[in-house]
């Protein structure tokens, strides 16, 4: 019997897990994939919004504005890069300038500090590569950028370090109400009995809610596609650049990443399936067209990757964060689309308030440690630190990913840490190995070898992202010995 089961290892689930790990509770987090941050949290715009965008009075507005200033402390405790670079909403004509004014008013109502409409001259001085036709821009100095999966992984690790049990490859198959105040959560391996369930299942939150017999709402996957560019061109913009928003979306932006690249995107298209993260030709064309309105001269020859993410859009058009009125102990945290990442710290606070109201006693732990042990990123160290690190552990002297200068030491550490990497993508998200301009062409065979060695498995069992995504199909010679294209195993 545990106190709380969190369903979903995205940024929201992991943020809540970490908050709960401050207290004397038994908490379990269930994630259906082989790593945390495997859904919406791994593919989004990675922006900590200032908070002018959402309609005043909504949870989105309130939690975004509350969440934004919390990032500095969280990121410093977790050793996660966060850059408060500011954002600019660019107006290309008179009408859009009026929208900027509305946005600024809305922002002030929401409580966003420092908003300012800046002139064309000032804008072009701040961002020389922007469309010369720009007329003015809304500047929000508090907006920031972060790596969303790095944050999520760090939250999970810190939660784990403080006693939360994180179970990967654990899809929830059924939820039942046992007797008074006891809920049962069934996964392929076991049934966990708990007093509270937090449904942070992202795109699948509606299905989990229905499974529990709680409130009925609907999550629609809304696809956003992105192109990411070589780091060499990372300086093309210095802030997150938005077009003037329409009623439907914040639009296609041009934005730096914390790792020094820049991206364009996302577009916004409802899709039928919750795993439809396929990039489309039309989508690529759409985001290029959109981004060119902001930065006409894009280095399209230097795109290093394209990807798509899905927003979890609820039919209530706001976050759904509340204790179920139908199932005692079941708390929905659904419909967390943009600005979900920005709101995540405030969502976690709110969920803890709800848990208290629902009768959970929160007694602080004496040994809670908010700090994640330092992670060595070779490329960011000084010469002295590099020398020292290699002396202590020679594996830090072997560069595995040459584009991002990731060493074997970092990869081994990513595998051995709490909630350690079990697949190639998990290594990539933790270390950036394979994320550079060659996209793993050079380091893939080496990372496969290290994963196999560290996990004590055959290279044939190493996956890209969990079971079914094995990288290799057999040993050489074995197809010939068994007579060609037939299953050799």
């Amino acid at each position: 019997m545990v106190d709380v089961v969190i369903i979903g290892g995205g940024v929201v689930g992991c943020m809540i897990a970490r908050e709960l790990s401050r207290y004397q509770l038994k908490t379990v987090l269930l994630e259906k994939e082989d790593d945390v941050a495997s859904g919406t949290s791994k593919a989004n715009s990675a922006i900590i919004h200032a908070g002018y965008d959402a309609k005043p009075g909504t949870l989105k507005a309130k939690l975004n504005v509350r969440g934004n200033p919390l990032f500095d402390k969280i990121c410093s405790e977790l050793d996660v890069p966060f850059k408060r670079i500011g954002s600019l909403v660019v107006a290309l004509n008179e009408e859009e300038i009026r929208v900027l004014e509305e946005l600024m008013e809305r922002g002030k109502t929401n409580g966003v500090p420092g908003l300012e409409i800046i002139s064309r001259e000032k804008l072009l001085e701040m961002e020389p590569n922007i469309n010369r036709q720009a007329r003015a821009a809304l500047y929000a100095p508090t907006a920031g950028i972060i790596c969303p999966y790095e944050l999520t992984i760090a939250l999970a690790e810190n939660a784990c370090q403080n006693g939360v049990e994180i179970k990967l490859n654990s899809p929830v198959l059924g939820i039942g109400v046992e007797n008074e105040g006891v809920l049962a959560v069934r996964t392929p391996g076991e049934t966990i009995y708990t007093r509270y369930i937090i449904n942070a299942a992202g795109l699948f939150a509606d299905e989990i809610s229905r499974m529990a017999g709680a409130e009925d709402y609907r999550i629609t996957p809304r696809k956003g596609e992105y192109l990411i560019f070589d780091r060499r061109f990372g300086g093309i913009v210095s802030r997150a650049i938005f077009p003037t928003p329409t009623k439907i979306s914040k639009g296609i932006l041009v934005c730096p990443t914390v790792d020094g690249n820049f991206f364009i995107g996302p577009n916004s298209n409802d899709v039928r399936e919750k795993d439809d993260v396929a990039v489309t030709q039309q989508g690529i064309e759409e985001i290029i067209k959109g981004a060119r309105k902001l930065v006409p001269d894009l280095p399209l020859k230097h795109v290093i990757a394209s990807f798509a993410g899905l927003r979890a859009v609820s039919d209530t058009d706001d976050f759904v964060i509340m204790a179920s009125k139908k199932v005692k102990g079941f708390i929905n945290v659904g419909g967390i689309q943009s600005p979900g990442l920005s709101s995540a710290p405030a969502i976690a606070e709110m969920v803890l308030e709800i848990l208290k109201e629902e009768g959970l006693e929160l007694k602080e732990k004496s040994d809670y440690n908010p700090e994640r042990p330092r992670i060595f990123k070779f490329r960011h160290l000084s010469s002295e630190e590099k020398r020292e690190l290699i002396r202590k552990n020679p594996a830090y002297g072997r560069v595995i990913c040459r584009c991002e200068t990731v060493t074997e030491g970092e990869i081994i550490d990513a595998i051995r840490r709490p909630v350690g990497a079990r697949s190639l993508d998990a290594v990539k998200r933790r270390t950036r190995a394979g994320m550079g301009r060659c996209q793993g062409g050079f380091c893939l065979p080496r990372v496969v070898e290290i994963l196999a060695r560290e996990l004590g498995i055959s290279p044939l069992e190493v996956t890209k992202s969990g079971s079914g995504s094995e990288i290799l199909k057999g040993r050489t010679k074995e197809f010939i010995e068994t007579g060609g294209v037939v299953d050799a195993k």
Binding site: A278, A305, G441, I471, V485
Partner: protein
């Protein structure tokens, strides 16, 4: 801080050839730095034949070609630092490298030769739509798995792009018992050598689909197939009515190579946007005095023999640089005109040529059955020459004598297509 006379970054064919030649020219202190545990570079995994016809007048495999230079380098006392990655290079020729034995290695070199080779273009660079499952490899990565690590990347394979590595892998995977469904090439002609089309595809009845491309990748976890379609003649956009599904578990990409110049950029070396490599002069010296370049880091070669030739010229360049103490030279520009994508070197000083004849490498913009190559100076055409069967995939190599270029102020190469007068049985 170590002081070194010549440091060569990269121990593949370019670096080894340069090292051997540098020693032969009497440069005493030659250090080659390579990131792998054995020298030889990409040749180690190129187990097929086709190497050495020009340099050794015999047909060797990649490992054989490499071993000849490795032995020669050992005999001549070239020092090779293995398992070491250069992470920093400055314009004043300071190098920081890292390995697990010594940690950080800091070196001040008198001269540097860049020989880092190239990397393969990826899916991102060509924006193929679809999912991002396991089973998408660049051809060179697949080659490493098959020939070095001993693993098969797939059983049923589609290859996008008809670059030579893709063609070679089509045969290699077939020989290892996999089924190669087809090779898909967006251009109306192949990007590989004719011999590779014949011996790697036709020998095994592997279809080469010209003017086709992959328009979608299927499969959430592992590739389950690709959709291919014909492309329009004019704008190369896919014609969706021609789209068809090809089942496969693996997609190999052979869509081009990109010179690896991150270190060159760090040292503020001027890069030619067309070749993707440094701008060099008659002795393969970059825009930074004392830093030279050769091989695929400079421009992508079709034959390793040319790499060796270029590397030897770079070594001669280093010898003359060390002898003249970095004296400043004026250069005249060398530029591509119609019909050519680039000419290399991009500038020369005729008086300072290390050899009596200067070699120029160039690539055509399209295949031509018959063409005339014009070499002009500001005074007019110096020389012209008829060329047959020019292809963008096969480098053109032309030599000019010092005397032919005496006193000129510029040099321009162009290629004009001519009607084919020879009847060929079709």
């Amino acid at each position: 801080m170590q002081n070194r006379e010549l440091v060569i970054i990269g121990g593949g064919p370019a670096g080894l050839s340069a090292a051997v030649e540098a020693r032969r020219l009497g440069i005493k202190d030659v250090l080659v730095i390579d990131r792998e545990s054995e020298p030889g570079g990409i040749l180690k995994q190129c187990i097929h034949t086709g190497f050495g016809l020009h340099v050794f007048k015999e047909e060797l495999t990649g490992p054989e070609y490499a071993e000849r230079f490795i032995r020669e380098a050992e005999n001549l006392g070239v020092e090779i630092m293995l398992d070491t990655m250069v992470i920093e290079l400055t314009a004043d020729k300071r190098i920081v490298a890292v390995n697990s034995r010594e940690g950080l290695v800091e070196i001040q070199a008198k001269a540097v030769i860049l020989a880092m080779g190239c990397r393969e273009r990826t899916r991102g660079a060509i924006n193929i739509p679809g999912f991002r499952p396991a089973g998408i490899f660049t051809a060179g990565t697949a080659q490493r798995f098959v020939n070095i690590e001993g693993y098969m990347p797939g059983r049923e394979i589609v290859i996008l792009g008809s670059g030579d590595i893709g063609l070679i892998m089509a045969r290699r995977l077939t020989l290892e018992g996999a089924k190669v469904q087809c090779v898909v090439e967006i251009m109306p002609y192949s990007n590989g050598l004719t011999r590779n089309i014949v011996q790697c595809l036709e020998d095994f009845d592997i279809p080469l689909l010209l003017k086709h491309t992959v328009v979608n990748i299927h499969g959430r976890k592992r590739v389950e197939g690709v959709t291919i379609a014909e492309v329009d003649d004019d704008d190369m956009k896919p014609i969706m009515e021609t789209a068809k599904f090809v089942p496969c578990d693996t997609l190999l990409l052979s869509v081009g190579l990109i010179p690896e110049n991150e270190l060159s950029r760090m040292a503020n070396i001027q890069i030619d946007e067309v070749t993707g490599g440094p701008v060099v002069n008659q002795r393969m010296e970059t825009s930074v005095p004392g830093i030279f370049a050769c091989g695929n880091v400079l421009h992508v070669h079709d034959l390793v023999d040319y790499v060796t030739r270029e590397a030897m010229l770079a070594a001669k360049g280093v010898a003359s640089y060390l002898a003249d103490g970095g004296k400043k030279y004026e250069h005249i520009p060398v530029s591509p005109g119609n019909g050519l994508r680039y000419v290399l070197p991009q500038r020369i000083n005729v008086d300072a040529m290390p050899e009596e004849r200067q070699n120029f490498f160039m690539r055509s913009v399209k295949p031509m059955a018959k063409a005339r190559l014009f070499i002009e100076s500001e005074r007019g055409v110096i020389k012209s020459r008829v060329m047959r069967y020019v292809k963008p995939s096969e480098m053109i190599s032309v030599q000019l004598d010092r005397d032919e270029m005496k006193g000129i102020k510029m040099l321009k190469f162009s290629l004009q297509e001519e009607g084919d007068s020879v009847e060929r049985g079709e």
